[in-house]
C-alpha cells in the first residue's frame, strides 16, 4: 500500500496530470449528470428545433450561439458528452479486455499459439486505423453500437503487443517458476502473479488511448460516417457546418475546442501517470529542487546505514 500511496502523490504533485484529472472528473460528472437528468440540467432543450433563433451568434442567453436549426450549441455540447466520453471509454475497455486475453494467451502459452496470435495482430497493425474504421463503419451502417464495433475491430492489436511483452517479462521471474514448482493452479498464477504486474502499463496506455479514441470518434462524426446525423456528437456538430464556416464559425469552433479540451484532459493525465511510473525518471522528480550536495549527503548516509 505504501507504494500506491507514493504513486498517487506523484500523480498529484505533477501539475500536468492534476490539471488533466480535473478536466476528466468535471467532464465525466457532467456526462453522468446529463445521462441521468437529461435536458433538465442544460439551459435549453438540446434536441428541440427552434427555427426563429437559428444561427444566432454567442451571447449571454446562448453562450456558444445557436446552430442552423436554432438549437443551443452549449446545451448540445453537454448532450454530446455522454456519447463522446462513453464511446471512447467503451472502445478502450473492450479492446483492452480483448488484448489482455489474447496477449496473456500468446505470452504464457507460447509456441504455435503465440505465433498465430502475433501474426494476426501484425496483420491488423499494418492497416491504417481510421481508413479501416471508416470502411468497416460504412459497411455496418450508421449507429452508435456499429461505430463502436468498427473501432474495436481495429483498436485491439497494440494491447496484445503490450500485454504479451509484459507477460514474457514477468513469466521469466523467479517467483513464477517457484509458484509453478509449488503446483499452484493455472488461474492462480495468471490472476495473482501475472495480471497485477502488467496492469499498470496497460492502465497508463489506456488513459492516453481514451484521448486518441475520442479524437478518432469525433473524426468519424465529422466525416458523417458511422455516427447517425443529428446525433449530438462533437464531430457531427463540427461537420454540419462545412458550408457556413465563414458566416457562423462558432457552430464549429466551440464543439471543436471542447473536443480538444477533453482530449487534453486524458493526455495530460496519462502523460503524468506514465512519467510517475517511469523508473528512470522518477528519482529526478523526487529530488527536484534539492541541491546536489544535499542529495549526495543523503546518499552517503543511506549507504552507510546498510
Amino acid at each position: 500500500m505504501v507504494k500506491s500511496l507514493k504513486f498517487r502523490q506523484l500523480v498529484l504533485s505533477n501539475r500536468l496530470s492534476s490539471f488533466g484529472l480535473v478536466i476528466v472528473i468535471i467532464s465525466v460528472s457532467l456526462a453522468a449528470a446529463f445521462a441521468i437528468f437529461g435536458g433538465h440540467i442544460t439551459p435549453y432543450d438540446p434536441f428541440a428545433l427552434n427555427l426563429q433563433d437559428s444561427n444566432l451568434p454567442p451571447s449571454f442567453s446562448h453562450v456558444f450561439g445557436t446552430d442552423f436549426q436554432g438549437r443551443d450549441v452549449f446545451s448540445r455540447v453537454i448532450a454530446a458528452l455522454p456519447i463522446d466520453l462513453g464511446l471512447p471509454i467503451a472502445i478502450v475497455l473492450l479492446s483492452s479486455v480483448l488484448g489482455i486475453f489474447l496477449g496473456m494467451t500468446a505470452g504464457y502459452v507460447g509456441g504455435l499459439v503465440d505465433e498465430v496470435i502475433m501474426r494476426i495482430t501484425d496483420l491488423f497493425l499494418a492497416f491504417p486505423t481510421i481508413i479501416m474504421v471508416l470502411a468497416v463503419a460504412a459497411t455496418l451502417g450508421p449507429g452508435l453500437v456499429n461505430a463502436m464495433l468498427a473501432f474495436v475491430f481495429v483498436w485491439w492489436p497494440p494491447y496484445v503487443r503490450l500485454v504479451r511483452g509484459g507477460v514474457l517479462e514477468v513469466a521469466a521471474e523467479d517467483f513464477i517458476a517457484i509458484s509453478k514448482a509449488l503446483n499452484s493452479s493455472f488461474s492462480h498464477i495468471i490472476l495473482k502473479g501475472i495480471l497485477p504486474n502488467i496492469m499498470p502499463s496497460v492502465l497508463t496506455y489506456a488513459t492516453l488511448d481514451v484521448g486518441t479514441a475520442l479524437l478518432e470518434v469525433s473524426i468519424l462524426g465529422f466525416l458523417g460516417i458511422g455516427i447517425p446525423p443529428n446525433t449530438p456528437e462533437l464531430g457531427v456538430m463540427v461537420g454540419s457546418i462545412s458550408y457556413g464556416l465563414y458566416t457562423y464559425p462558432w457552430q464549429a469552433l466551440f464543439p471543436a475546442f471542447v473536443t480538444m479540451l477533453l482530449v487534453i484532459g486524458f493526455s495530460f493525465l496519462g502523460e503524468g501517470v506514465r512519467e510517475a511510473s517511469d523508473v528512470k525518471v522518477r528519482p529526478y522528480i523526487l529530488f527536484k529542487g534539492r541541491a546536489f550536495e544535499e542529495v549526495a549527503e543523503a546518499t552517503t548516509r543511506v549507504v552507510a546505514e546498510h
Binding site: 500536468l16 499494418a126 491504417p128 486505423t129 481508413i131 471543436a256
Partner: protein, 273 residues
C-alpha cells in the same frame, strides 16, 4: 489475385474510368502534401523534444511539453478550421482551398506532382501558386502530428542523459556540444526514426480530413467520396494503397534505423543481431 499485383483494379462504376488511372491522378497530390508536412513535423518535432529533454524539469521543459501535448490533443478538423479562419479569412494571406489558382495555366503532367511539374515546365507563377496553396494544409497537418515525435525524442533523451556512456564520453574529454550531438541527440534520433514511420501513416490518413476541408484533390478526398457513395470497388484499392504507403514507410524507417544504430545490422555481413 494477380490483378491486385498488376494494378488492375477494374473500372470505377461511378465515373467509368479505370480505378488505377484515378488513383494515379490523386496519389501524387496526396504524397506532395504528406511529404511536405512530414518534413515540417520532423524538424519541429525533434527540435522541440530536444529542447524539452535537455532542459528537463525547467520552465522551458513545461512549455515544450504543454505545446506537444496540446498539439497531439488537437482534432484534425480544429487545426484546419482555425488555419482557414485565421490565415485565409481574417488575415487573408493564404488561399483557403484548392491546389492552385484558377487563373494559372497548369503545367503539363509529367510526374503528376504539381510542384515538380511546374518546375520542369519552368512555369514560375504556377510554382508560386502551388506553394501558396500547399503551406496552409501542410501546416495544419504538421501541427496535429508533431507531438508524438517530440515526446519520443524527449523521453529517449531522458533515458540516455544520465547513462554511464554519456558520462564516459564527458570523461574522455569531449566538448559538451560534441557529447550532445554525437551521443545524446543521435541516440534520440534512433527512436524518432522508428516512430517516423508511424507518423507518416498518421499524416497519410489525416489527409482524409484536411483534403476535405481544403478542397485538395488528393487520395483522401477520393476515399471520402468513395465511402460516402458506397463505392466499394474503389474503396478497396484505396485501402490497399494507403496500407502499402504505411508498409513502405516502415521499410524505409527500418533501413534508416540500421544506418543510425551501429548495433543493428541488415544481416549482410553474416552477423546475427
Amino acid at each position: 489475385m494477380r490483378d491486385l499485383f498488376t494494378g488492375n483494379f477494374g473500372i470505377d462504376p461511378l465515373t467509368g474510368q479505370t480505378i488505377l488511372s484515378e488513383i494515379l491522378f490523386y496519389l501524387p497530390n496526396t504524397l506532395e502534401l504528406a511529404l511536405f508536412s512530414f518534413i515540417i513535423i520532423i524538424i519541429v518535432g525533434v527540435a522541440l523534444g530536444y529542447l524539452a529533454g535537455m532542459h528537463f524539469s525547467t520552465f522551458r521543459d513545461s512549455v515544450a511539453r504543454v505545446t506537444y501535448l496540446v498539439s497531439w490533443s488537437t482534432p484534425m478538423y480544429l487545426a484546419a478550421i482555425v488555419a482557414i479562419l485565421l490565415f485565409a479569412d481574417y488575415i487573408p494571406i493564404f488561399p483557403s482551398g484548392g491546389m492552385y489558382s484558377l487563373s494559372i495555366t497548369p503545367p503539363p503532367t509529367v510526374t503528376g506532382v504539381f510542384l515538380v511539374d511546374a518546375l520542369i515546365a519552368l512555369n514560375l507563377p504556377a510554382f508560386v501558386s502551388g506553394v501558396q496553396h500547399l503551406i496552409l494544409p501542410a501546416l495544419a497537418l504538421a501541427f496535429v502530428n508533431f507531438g508524438l515525435i517530440s515526446r519520443a525524442v524527449r523521453s529517449s533523451i531522458l533515458n540516455v542523459r544520465w547513462s554511464t556512456y554519456v558520462k564516459t564520453a564527458r570523461a574522455k574529454g569531449l566538448t559538451e556540444s560534441e557529447v550532445r550531438r554525437r551521443h545524446i541527440l543521435r541516440n534520440a534520433l534512433v527512436d524518432a526514426t522508428t516512430l517516423s514511420a508511424v507518423i507518416f501513416g498518421w499524416v497519410l490518413t489525416s489527409t482524409l480530413v484536411v483534403e476535405e476541408l481544403f478542397a485538395w484533390p488528393g487520395l483522401g478526398q477520393f476515399a471520402y467520396q468513395a465511402i460516402f457513395s458506397n463505392d466499394y470497388p474503389v474503396l478497396i484499392p484505396i485501402v490497399v494503397v494507403f496500407t502499402l504507403g504505411v508498409i513502405v514507410a516502415n521499410f524505409v524507417a527500418d533501413v534508416a534505423y540500421s544506418i543510425l544504430d551501429p548495433r543493428i545490422g541488415m544481416g549482410a555481413h553474416g552477423e546475427v543481431t
